[in-house]
């Protein structure tokens, strides 16, 4: 699809307008335990690591933390042992278009923002931060695809879409008796942050998320333990034919970024619907701007 610059609501925005100034950081001598606490406390997926000169030298993400858990590293080990180095940067005055292109090519979810001094981080820009901005701008944009349809209709057209029209069928399930090792392997192989847990009767029992696993690591739970002991329950679902607006309300109410979708009853899980995809549809984005074509699932 050609990028249309003129009249596009999102093109022309730069990193400064989308970034977060709150950066969670630790020194390279900090422990994995401290990194886990930071991700849990600030509800983030990654922590920036800096050296003694306060220069950014690496990143520790939940994926890296789970790598340490899988490898049997003690939580007192330094973050140095699991961090990815160097972090990827962008400049505060870079355009969002160019930065998103960089994220896609590098297959990363975030970039750290630098100002005048290279390696002195002043903010962070993540896909998720851009998504809220996407909704806000596209919703007001004159090119919004649903604007004409809604002109004579009191209801929001996007909310009449059904969950089945948006869901993805990419999900994985494990049984309650499977070990956390097996779950971490599945998450790693499929780049997933959540795995559905089923009982022997095939009924969904709960989920295991990356947060559940990092907490298990923090609390000294051996990775050979079964999923049953760390899973969060129940698994939150919506129906295939459910209206989008109802699915959104459920995700907000339960503070989730996705729901499993069932078709012929709760045991028949057929897919996952994400808040990101719902936000995109409800925004009515024309997808002309590159920014509107971001995909958190890439």
């Amino acid at each position: 699809m050609a990028v249309i610059d003129r009249g596009s609501a999102l093109s022309g925005l730069n990193v400064a307008q989308a970034m977060r100034k709150l950066i969670c950081r630790l020194s390279r001598g900090a422990t994995i335990q401290q990194a886990i606490r930071h991700t849990v406390k600030y509800k983030i997926n990654a922590v920036l690591i800096h050296d003694e000169r306060s220069e950014a030298v690496g990143v520790v993400s939940k994926v890296n933390i789970l790598g340490g858990y899988y490898a049997g590293l003690p939580i007192t080990a330094p973050v140095d042992a699991i961090m990815v180095s160097p972090p990827l940067f962008c400049r505060v005055d870079d355009s969002l278009d160019s930065v998103l292109d960089h994220m896609r090519r590098a297959r990363v979810q975030r970039l750290y923002v630098v100002g005048e001094e290279p390696r002195k981080v002043i903010g962070v820009l993540a896909y998720a931060d851009i998504l809220g901005m996407l909704y806000k701008f596209c919703h007001e944009c004159k090119h919004r695809t649903l604007r004409e349809l809604e002109a004579d209709c009191p209801k929001k057209v996007a909310d009449e879409f059904r969950v089945g029209e948006l869901m993805t069928t990419t999900f994985r399930a494990h049984e309650e008796d499977d070990s956390l090792f097996q779950i971490m392997e599945t998450m790693s192989a499929n780049r997933l942050r959540t795995v559905l847990i089923k009982g022997r009767d095939g009924l969904p029992r709960g989920v295991v998320t990356t947060t559940d696993l990092t907490l298990a690591y923090l609390h000294g739970v051996p990775a050979s333990t079964t999923a049953r002991s760390v899973m969060s329950g129940p698994a939150r679902t919506c129906a295939y034919g459910e209206r989008l607006i109802e699915a959104v309300k459920k995700m907000i109410f339960w503070d989730l970024d996705s729901l499993y979708v069932h078709k012929e009853g709760v045991a028949d899980i057929v897919g996952v619907v994400t808040l990101a995809e719902v936000a995109r549809v409800r925004s009515g984005s024309c997808r002309a701007c590159m920014i509107s074509r971001i995909d958190l699932n890439e």
Binding site: V40, K41, F253, D255
Partner: protein
Amino acid sequence: MGVTARDVMDTDFHTVRPENTIAEAVKAFKQASEQRRQKVFGLMVTDDRGLLVGMLSLYDMLLLMRPKNIHIWGEMRDIDVTGFIEEACRRARAIRVGDVMTEEVVTITPDTHLLMIVDIMIRKHIRRLPVVDGGKVIGIVYTSTIFYELMERLAG
């Protein structure tokens, strides 16, 4: 009038344990506020030996309550979110203090000079400082305490 932490610290203070739940911590906040007759915005976290292991502050509680995806759905102003706060509170109640507290706590000793305390509070943006002796908490100094102490002196 005293000039060190020992002279101005509050020795009647409440603490919580890392294994306490947020619900239990909230009760402790209320009790501490009633006792001090003013709102308390931070509690020290100590282990079973009385050693300081962290601080649970207003900011920590707000971080806990902040919805994970508010930056995405926060712009959807047409969505009815009735009941959301109650559900968020229900989830938060069972969380352990140890999982949300701040572990890196700036402390002072009983002999820390008043003006040094002022400097620390300003540089670190801190409103309360535990007074620690041999790792054990023996008191706490609040910004308000320092303020009133200096006010007395300024009045002459």
